[in-house]
Symmetry: C2
């Protein structure tokens, strides 16, 4: 019984890492599609999102099956419940990558991002890819130094998000309304992406240490709203 | 044993309904704060959000305890797992109400919403309040006619969201960049609020009928991005 449980639990962990890998690919390609106005790449991200969704469904079914068949308690139970939560978070990160790709596709053959903010969004894209890559590493190794690196990149994403508001609102902004809308939305997608990474980092930290820093204390993109 | 389980399960249902009631109050007040530039009301919504967060934590702990102590199977298990999911969704709906209130607070004493879109946001606010109120009713009664009404209001929110893009991009828009940013973000908050309501409607429908229309098929606010 225990061996079956261990094998099932390992599969849950493998599925989470696989979702995270797909999210990493998606957000990397989405950023590239956005910054280079690459329609084909944007289409790829949009088309691949259903794989992430399907994996979430599978993973959830496996978790419910595990709960029903094995009735885990204590740490094992927390692992399964956390997996249910983390799969939803990863699925949402995949959606955000898809949204970024959809902006790129919607503006093609134009560039969605106004030239003066190209570098800012390049940095956002890089930070988001690191968040996703480290999430995979964290899920695979449970090395908590990786968790703090995720938080650092989330801070960077928050700062870059703020930078977009400063650029738009400092009085020199002369972009079109469409560009303003796109910058506002895409910056928010990246900022939320970082929040979700931190949410997973905190869950894994809790599973390892038993100490749960409340992920609801994470700022979630209201800075622009209050700017 | 069964009586204890039933009592605990009832408490889970009561907590979800209570969360939903708080979300209804929050989103109603947030909309009023936004449309009337009412700082005090905005502050109330922002301050009250931690109550929703605390209720989510309590509810999650109760669910984990239930899983550990009672090892439910079949429908009972699905109810508990769904409650874990729905509490996260309601918590997120509370966050969105708070974000709307933060925009109102950030612009005070000005109005955040440009006059020509006042009526559109009034309709969004009304639809969001109905979504929240019906979510409470659905959680309390499991009357599935309410679920389809939630989907109808979500469709309305999607249309109103689209209307904001049409207004901003039809060539006659002369608002400030700050107003463009605010309309873009607040309209997205409302649109996501509707999605979350539909996600709960689909979960309850599944619990009642066993038929789960995949809530990931719900459009999630990319319309503006692709417009």
């Amino acid at each position: 019984m225990r061996e079956i449980f261990e094998a099932e639990l390992k599969q849950v962990g493998d599925d989470l890492a696989e979702m995270s890998r797909l999210v990493e690919t998606a957000v990397g390609k989405a950023g590239q599609a956005l910054l280079t106005a690459d329609l084909q790449l944007a289409q790829q991200v949009i088309a691949a999102d259903h794989t992430i969704d399907a994996l979430e469904n599978e993973l959830d079914e496996r978790c419910v099956y595990l709960l029903a068949q094995q009735a885990p308690v204590a740490t094992d139970l927390r692992v399964v419940v956390s997996a249910l939560r983390m799969s939803a978070t990863l699925e949402r990160m995949g959606d955000l990558a898809r949204h970024i790709a959809q902006v790129a596709r919607g503006r093609y053959p134009s560039h969605a991002i106004e030239p003066s903010l190209h570098r800012t969004f390049e940095q956002m894209s890089d930070a988001a890819v690191r968040v996703a890559r480290r999430t995979t590493t964290l899920l695979t190794t449970r090395d908590l130094t990786v968790a703090s690196n995720i938080e650092r990149d989330d801070d960077l994403l928050d700062h870059l998000h703020q930078d977009t508001f400063v650029a738009m609102l400092d009085g020199t902004w002369s972009a079109t309304t469409q560009e303003t809308v796109d910058v506002t939305l895409v910056a928010r997608y990246y900022e939320r992406f970082g929040d979700h990474g931190v949410s997973i980092a905190k869950r894994v930290t809790y599973l390892v240490t038993g100490d749960f820093a409340d992920d609801r204390a994470v700022p979630s993109g209201t800075a622009g709203a209050t700017a």
